[in-house]
Symmetry: C2
């Protein structure tokens, strides 16, 4: 039978990253292309201990159906965790436990966009967000990134356009792919524009806990007195991603629609994961655990930057204050796709920067490097491969 795929799904292109990752079964390949957290950061022993206790003492509490919003005691623990340093979840906000933060991006588009509506996005930004929005039939309006976050004039122009965007998507901390952090001044300005134009902000914060340099910057959600910000927090980088566990904090009026979307999408999030997370949050010192993760990431980031400085001085790159990514830019006029292709031929995977652009066809001289997944040895080897290709291409 011939299937007639819906317009919104037929127009989705296969992800460049997925195509690259398909070649990853080659064990001799070094990957700077992934986005996996470092496996040695997983609190595997605690998870095993709490899981075992739960499944022996109260299996039905992990195995039976639950409510779409998330297990009530888990929601309480998550709210306390989110609010432990700043006020993310306010009185009028609900907390929804989701199957990873990808699901929050999916719900935002589903609940706020009719097919053809516009969503404003940082450009470049996380490809999985673009695809989630497109899969609801949304069109993307990219707002260029500067070193301290989006270009505000361009953002205001998009907000003021006749087709007002349904929301604005941004990753203020250690952005994927650029590693850039939005300044406090820009966060305040973005919030003010959002309120002035009535455009909600979807603040995606999967990396916020992974700060390795500089001081914390308040989240946009913490400034939110108008219920204008949808906050997406994740446990993928501070516990583990295989659990698929994240949380959304937003105004209860919008949350009601998200809960219906959750019911329609997968009924509720895996209960075992919720309960194990609750035990981690309430019975371990999460901040001590997060400090250990930061040490791992800080060492890997420092090594990659040191190697780049030493071997690839012609590559400009962002020095990230956290997260998992470094954004490299080749000298003016260089052929970035040819550089990435040749690196792959020499067994080093990088992601071409245009994979993260709203318009993948536009010229782009940048590429993304991940430092959380490769071993220190492979970080050294991989940067040497880059240096060899730069030399071979006369860059």
């Amino acid at each position: 039978m011939e299937f007639k795929i819906s317009d919104k799904m037929r127009n989705m292109k296969p992800s460049i990253i997925r195509e690259i990752l398909k070649q990853m079964s080659d064990p001799t390949l070094i990957s700077f292309a992934g986005g996996n957290p470092a496996a040695d950061s997983f609190p595997a022993e605690d998870i095993a201990r709490f899981s075992d206790e739960l499944l022996r003492q109260d299996p039905v509490a992990a195995l039976q159906y639950s409510v779409s919003e998330g297990v009530p005691s888990v929601r309480e623990a998550v709210r306390a965790f989110a609010n432990r340093r700043e006020r993310v979840a306010k009185e009028n906000d609900g907390v929804l436990i989701t199957s990873g933060s990808q699901q929050i991006l999916d719900f935002a588009a589903k609940c706020l966009c009719n097919e053809g509506d516009v969503v404003a996005v940082e450009n470049p930004a996380f490809l999985g967000a673009f695809n989630a929005f497109r899969s609801s039939g949304a069109r993307l309006a990219g707002v260029p990134m500067e070193d301290d976050g989006v270009n505000l004039a361009a953002l205001e122009a998009v907000f003021a356009a006749p087709e007002k965007p349904r929301f604005f998507y941004c990753i203020p901390n250690f952005q994927n792919p650029t590693g850039k952090t939005m300044s406090l001044a820009k966060r305040r300005a973005v919030y003010a524009l959002a309120v002035r134009y009535g455009v909600p902000v979807l603040e995606d914060d999967p990396y916020g806990e992974l700060r390795i340099a500089g001081g914390p910057v308040p989240s946009i959600k913490s400034m939110d007195t108008e219920g204008a910000v949808i906050y997406a927090g994740s446990f993928s980088k501070i516990l583990c991603p295989g659990m698929r566990l994240a949380y959304c904090v937003c105004d209860k009026k919008l949350m009601a629609a998200f809960v219906v979307a959750k019911q329609c999408s997968d009924v509720h999030t895996n209960v075992w994961a919720q309960r194990v997370c609750e035990a981690m949050l309430t019975r371990t010192d999460m901040d001590a655990h997060i400090r250990e993760i930061r040490k791992i990431y800080a060492a890997k980031a420092a090594l990659m930057m040191e190697q780049l400085d030493e071997k690839c001085p012609q590559v400009r790159y962002t020095r990230p204050e956290g997260g998992m990514f470094i954004w490299g830019t080749l000298p003016e006029g260089a052929d970035m796709p040819a550089f990435v292709r040749e690196c792959l031929a020499r067994k080093l995977a990088l992601v071409p920067g245009n994979a993260f652009m709203v318009d993948e066809e536009a010229p782009c001289g940048s590429f993304r490097m991940n430092f959380s997944t490769p071993t220190p040895e492979n970080i050294v080897k991989g940067v040497s491969v880059m240096a060899g290709v730069l030399a071979a291409q006369g860059l």
Copy 2:
């Protein structure tokens, strides 16, 4: 801030069942309204054992990111399980591991429907399916149920209508809510109509393993030589629902779109659940386990039917050959909503039949009873409440 909810989500009504279940915190209430599997059917000890082994011996295999299709070895184990008695997954079919079968219903609408497109559905049928389809902006064309499945003339009329449905949704085994099973002749006829009119069949089979009477009837998917059937299988009723684990079997061409939808929706299914399920399928005697579940369900169904025969002879009901539900119908002219309301006032929850109808406002004299969740004692008490209300209402 005022949120402008998308048309498709704004028009979703809160589920009647959810509203009823909200009253369930009252511990004196007896519920025939839920759809939970019996907790004593969960293989809790095996799950605890395999989980512990996995998390101690190879935690990264449970905790790291994985591929959207599902862990390859899990997909292989699921394919073998699905094909152990009949050929569900054929050469041209892919297997996708999903976060519960609700997600398959969501993907079918997302991948096959533009907003406003028509989906044909058994009427009445599973409310969660209706809501999943509506949340993609689909409109529903209900096809009346008869004792042996849908009315074929009505189905053909819907297939032949100018707005051809994008697919046809049915639950051939022990349907929710009616408990009815589609006959072999009707399955063949439905398949033939699907091929003739080019309308894919979405065969939802969450209860198929829970047969308590009669002999097995081949799935529609097993007849599928044209790649016209999308099969949804679930582990919620034979392992446990809290894991959120199900699988979709369909033609690889359509599966490619489903995999993109999966990537956009929640990236991949919880890996712990996938690995534990794999161990259950490959290292335990699942058929022996399923025989034990059937015994529990057969005893509960028999008790409820015996009680209905004895105390409520004026209620006609379907004698299900499996599943979890009995569909009761009041004498002609009775006021079903008043009956359900009065039962609730006397602390027995039933679901009014119109909750499962495409048009919830249409008159309906039926209601749904669940026998898997209540204890035997509560089955006896609950049917006595019904008898008291029937007497009080002069029925």
